[in-house]
Symmetry: C2
Subunit: 348 residues, 2 copies
DNA sequence: CTGAAAGCGCTTACAG
DNA sequence: CTGAAAGCGCTTACAG
């Protein structure tokens, strides 16, 4: 039937005995089309297995029905070792896109290199979602350029006073507070913080601020000797923990700025014969799926990735529609597991 | 400078003092363009921050420089609980696409519903990669339809004699053999298999065949009472293990058809006071990132997702180029960890 | 409610 | 090496 060549709306028009314009109207759901005509067209579409050519329709309408997701990662990142937290986000973003009838283009980006953010300019995507950690101070300029050029974009990350872009982030400060309060309630007083706490990594910095805030309010000294930098990998957490132990500074709890860091810390503690939670209470941040499987299961802060993904997509779509969009902060939830429980719950 | 309206190749042409056709040639890297002319054009492109409109160029050239990845999942699947193995695949596929200069569109699909495989027909993608478990016998017809309609596609999955499509899969049979041999070598004789072993799930079936093959060769009975169905989730593994324990059939080892199943089995064993590996040796399949973090760390079979992703993408691109492409089987690698070690390595 | 026609922004034979 | 022109397959004012 179909003459091998590509089937176009003209073929449908011919088969249905109408003009090509009417086919287009019918397929776009225009109310102007007669019910009977529409039925004939739909029959023809089915018969020839016709699909509208998106390149043509996108060219004509000047939008693509597609969003792009850029995930930043370390150059060191190995295939399968993308931060699981971002993979969860990816899942919920994909789903949110589908719900809104948008397709999703994804791309991993090296943080340090020039971003391939051309998806929007080249009309492959109507807007861009940015995801991933990296040095914010380096980040900032590129973000500003993006925004200046009028690229529609939203970012997952810390929500700060003067940032150039629209961001959605979780309440890192409250999360940090929750962990610190919990560890204090467990009787810990020498609580180490593993993770960068500078303005280069605002999310970690906020977690640290929450932690320091609670300690100070409780009259517990915030000892700089108990803070060790680490990027978000198991290895960095391991090495930072080693360094802390080697330093000889006494501690009875560890607040790792992310779950991956906590896993590394757990391994280092184990190698040094320090038991979690009996000798050292341990907590992380993110609540990635693995957190409940490690032994002991990890106390952490749940970031609701489902909600986050929906917020990101919805914010971006509103932006694309030309509405004014504000940054937003999502609540977090403390998730207590065995790794931080000093009392009777510990032990084998 | 740019008059707010969209910048097109005509603007570049005007600025560079050439025709629009020459701009197009220069930007596509045609050797016909004079060096000096090319430089002027490139300067203009930079000055106006021009990007080629992909919708227009794709429409003209009739291909999109994009591949689509469909990931099938259970309707029950929660946001963040996509099988981590497929997330690893997603990572390596994304990377492989980037290496080949292709963009990647992703979409989660409900297995039971009609697939939204229109990416290719609508010219949004040049081809499709299929990923995910599901009832193969139901799957098969849809696959056949896809292939019939001439949609370019490759699938990750079992490589079987009569399948309609091109598949890349790992050597499930050898993987099953490797686990069984290892468990036998540990002195186990009553080795349970948790996972579906029917032709509905050919990958699991192959793993089961490898296992049964080795047992038979070693003169160990393959007891049907020791095989319990389970889909690939932690919960299904947990429930299947409960059922097996409740059945009263004695066993000294468990071969779970996937790591997620193994995690669930581990939890059930733990709740029943059965120690891994002392009382029961346990092995999984996939080597997802969590496998090394559970306690005890899980013996499993490594599927090389990096290689798999590259193979899938390369096969699909060859197909798109019109080359003949065959299905292929990738080697696997036994990864022994503490969960299966009966000897001195066990214990705390 | 429908059709004829213009045009989205490119790419690429064709002619020079 | 370059330009003028056709055309990819749609969508949408415009006219009826």
């Amino acid at each position: 039937m179909a003459t091998k060549g590509k089937i176009t709306s003209l073929d449908i028009a011919y088969l249905a005995g109408v003009s090509q314009a009417t086919v287009s109207r019918a397929l776009r759901g225009s109310p102007l089309v007669n019910e009977e005509t529409r039925r004939r067209i739909e029959a023809a579409v089915k018969q020839l297995n016709y699909k509208v050519d998106k390149n043509a329709s996108n060219l004509r309408t000047q939008h693509s029905g597609t969003l792009a997701l850029l995930i930043f990662e370390d150059p060191t990142a190995d295939d399968s070792h993308i931060n699981p937290f971002f993979l969860s986000m990816l899942g919920s973003i994909t789903r949110a896109c589908a719900q809104h009838g948008y397709d999703l283009l994804i791309s991993f980006q090296q943080f340090s290199r020039d971003w391939h953010a051309d998806y929007a300019d080249s009309k492959k995507a109507d807007g861009i979602i940015l995801l991933g950690y990296g040095d914010y101070l380096a980040y900032r300029d590129k973000l500003a350029t993006l925004v200046e050029q009028g690229t529609q974009s939203v970012r997952w990350g810390a929500v700060l006073p003067d940032q150039p872009d629209v961001s959605i982030g979780c309440d890192n400060f409250q999360g940090g507070r929750a962990i610190a309060e919990h560890l204090l309630a467990q009787g810990c007083r020498r609580i180490a913080f593993i993770g960068d706490a500078s303005s280069h990594y605002p999310e970690f910095q906020e977690r640290y601020r929450g932690y320091a805030d609670v300690l100070a309010a409780a009259g517990v000294a915030v000892d700089p000797a108990l803070q060790v930098d680490a990027e978000t990998t198991e290895l960095a957490g391991y090495e930072a923990m080693q360094a802390l132990i080697a330093s000889g500074a006494p501690f009875d709890a560890v607040f790792a700025a992310s779950d991956l860091i906590a896993f590394g810390a757990m391994r280092a503690l184990d190698e040094h014969g320090l038991k979690v939670p009996e000798d050292v209470a341990l907590a992380g941040f993110d609540d990635i799926p693995m957190a409940r499987f490690v032994n002991p299961a990890l106390t952490t802060v749940l970031q609701d990735t489902r909600q986050a993904g929906e917020m990101l997509v919805e914010a971006l779509l509103r932006m694309i529609r030309g509405e004014k969009v504000e940054s937003a902060i999502l609540p977090v939830k403390l998730t207590v597991r065995r790794s931080s429980l000093r009392g009777g719950a510990g032990g084998k």
